[in-house]
């Protein structure tokens, strides 16, 4: 009887992802035995921390969960509170919210595409090494990110953890002329984003497909960002208030993050691939045109090509921001009056990494009795593990170093935000 060949590949600290986590892969006789993502950043007790606080504090408290997507946390919590309290906001406030969110998409996608993900495709250890040989490209990424920052500053008050956002609207509505100053930088950013699509579409892709269900918000007439219904490519179409009936979270011992599944046990994926699959027809003509020019199909199930989808979303975010600025009229009041109500409110938005769901229970004076926050990375964790399993199956003949590199890249395809999910990465491959 032959002795089985065992290989262990391990990455103790995964670089170029947000937060800390580890990955381990065990291969027995050339077949994948086990794939695990372990999240060891301390669990974050935000949900418990919110109990006993005023409902008005939720946007500022939850924005602290992430330095990359604070607006997503603010907007999901606001949607939940306004859902419960029956608040209708004016059109200018809706425009400002979507515009602020476009700023966050530009900032986050530019960071991930240029600084975190592109070095994988071009064979560099990181953005600094890539910058030494592609200074102009990295400069383009930094300029894009800066435009996102500027949008965040003008509407949110500062580029990280905006201070101008509240339940009901904003503390101060920007003047039209302040937004007009963003037009020129956004037009330049839109050109840079078009270049980004052409650049990333020219990378080499291994031609693979994720097979899980794709879930995102969807809206009529717009590419869903700050609101929408929860839909999937397998026919799910429910209001945000029904999210809990269709998705559940379970604790897995190795990880500090909860893992999400569909209520029927099926693995699903949210994020750019899901949004593009479900709403590509609602992108702006320019974004659709450049996607067509580079041959990006709908749906795109290749997680490695998520970098191209993110780039198309960059074009859209710039285009949409310009459209919104054109439509903006200064509101009479920067915020709607909000009176708390006892009950349960639900809110969801499309964070750059995918669907972010919040649910709050309030008492009659607006004190938070219970909070539930489901970030995109914990929803995506099972899909990432399933995808990794397939990647290892296909590439197990590579050396440990090369296999580790492919696995890390496969994880970065999903732009995981580990800080958000803990409630993650080091990579270990065991060959037995």
């Amino acid at each position: 009887m032959s002795t089985p060949t065992r290989r262990t590949i391990k990455t103790d600290y995964l670089a170029r992802v947000e937060g800390e986590g580890a990955m381990s892969v065990r291969i027995v006789d050339g077949r994948v035995d086990e794939v695990e993502l372990r999240i060891f950043e301390p669990p974050r007790f935000f949900e418990a921390l919110l109990r006993g606080r005023s409902f008005l504090e939720a946007p500022d408290i939850t924005s602290r969960i992430c330095g990359i997507c604070p607006v997503a946390y603010q907007m999901s919590s606001i949607n939940a509170m306004e859902d419960l309290c029956g608040v209708e906001v004016s059109e200018p406030i809706r425009i400002l919210r979507r515009l602020l969110y476009c700023g966050e998409w530009i900032e986050s996608h530019a960071l991930h595409v240029y600084m975190l993900h592109a070095p994988d495709f071009l064979g560099y250890a990181g953005a600094v090494e890539m910058a030494r040989e592609h200074a102009d490209v990295v400069q383009r990424g930094l300029s894009l990110k800066k435009t996102g920052n500027e949008l965040m500053i003008v509407i949110g008050g500062r580029e990280i953890h905006p201070v101008n956002v509240k339940v009901g609207g904003f503390y101060r509505a920007p003047r039209k002329r302040e937004l007009r100053e963003l037009v020129e930088p956004l037009e330049r950013a839109r050109e840079a984003a078009l270049e980004t699509v052409r650049w990333t579409a020219g990378f080499e892709f291994p031609e693979r497909a994720v097979e899980c269900e794709l879930v995102s918000l969807a809206e009529q007439g717009a590419y869903a960002i700050e609101s929408g219904r929860v839909v999937s490519d397998r026919g799910l179409d429910v209001g945000v208030e029904d999210y809990d009936g269709h998705f559940f979270e379970e604790h897995v011992e190795r990880s500090n993050a909860l893992h999400s599944r569909r209520a029927d046990g099926v693995t699903y994926l949210c994020g750019p691939l899901a949004r593009y699959a479900l709403s590509a027809d609602r992108l702006s003509p320019l974004a659709r045109e450049v996607a067509g020019e580079v041959g990006l199909e709908v749906p795109c199930r290749d997680a490695f090509r998520s970098i191209v989808v993110r780039s198309v979303e960059l074009v859209y975010a710039c285009d949409e921001a310009l459209r919104l600025i054109g439509e903006y009229e200064e509101p009479d009041a920067p915020a709607a009056e909000v009176e708390p109500r006892a009950g349960v409110g639900h809110g969801a938005t499309e964070a750059p990494r995918g669907l972010l769901y919040h649910r709050y229970e309030l008492d009659a004076d607006g004190t938070i009795l219970d909070a539930k926050i489901v970030p995109p990375t914990s929803q995506n964790q099972l899909a990432i593990e399933e995808d990794l399993r397939q990647v290892v199956d296909r590439y197990h003949e590579l050396t440990d170093d090369d296999l580790r590199h492919v696995c890390e890249q496969a994880i970065r395809n999903f732009d995981p935000c580990i800080s958000c999910a803990t409630h993650f990465l080091d990579l270990k491959i065991v060959r037995e």
């Binding site: 960071l111 600084m115 953005a127 910058a131 990295v138 400069q139």
Partner: protein
């Protein structure tokens, strides 16, 4: 120019900002002074056009709290042991290397790091960090060759 980096609400992390503020008070007309959080594009924009920049930040290595470290990063990278913490993705060392790689680093750049003690919530500097700030102010003025030091 002098750039103070840090978060004013995280205890000793504000040391770099405090140095910048005091330098500005002492020599309001001689030096351009900027304070900012550690956001890479902000930092690279901040020293744009400057021939020489002094960056001041808080550090957490194993040195005695209040110690002031000086690193001339004009031609070599910042040691990563002292400067690990960034809000996300790119720390000060990586930002300097990124700027060097794309040709946007001032011709001369020096980083002062003030060893902090307490990095929890709060707007007060610890005793050792305050002493570190006082020493760093003198060192920055000397580095910048300021005449009106008192």
């Amino acid at each position: 120019m002098v750039i103070g980096v840090g978060n004013s609400y995280r205890g000793d992390d504000a040391a770099g900002r405090e140095v910048a503020r005091r330098v500005q008070e002492r020599v309001p007309d001689e030096l351009e002074v900027v304070v900012c959080g550690l956001e890479p594009t902000r930092l690279i924009d901040a020293w744009e056009g400057a021939d020489a920049a002094i960056v001041v930040d808080a550090v957490s290595s194993e040195a005695e709290p209040g110690t002031v470290h000086r690193f001339d990063v004009t031609s070599e990278a910042l040691p990563s042991r002292e400067f690990r913490s960034s809000t996300h993705a790119l720390g000060i060392g990586e930002t300097i290397e990124l700027a060097r790689a794309i040709g946007r680093l001032p011709a001369r750049i020096v980083v002062f790091g003030i060893e902090g003690e307490v990095f929890g919530s709060g707007t007060e500097l610890s005793g050792p960090a305050q002493e570190g700030v006082e020493r760093a102010v003198e060192l920055v003025l000397e580095e910048a060759g300021c005449t009106s030091r008192h």
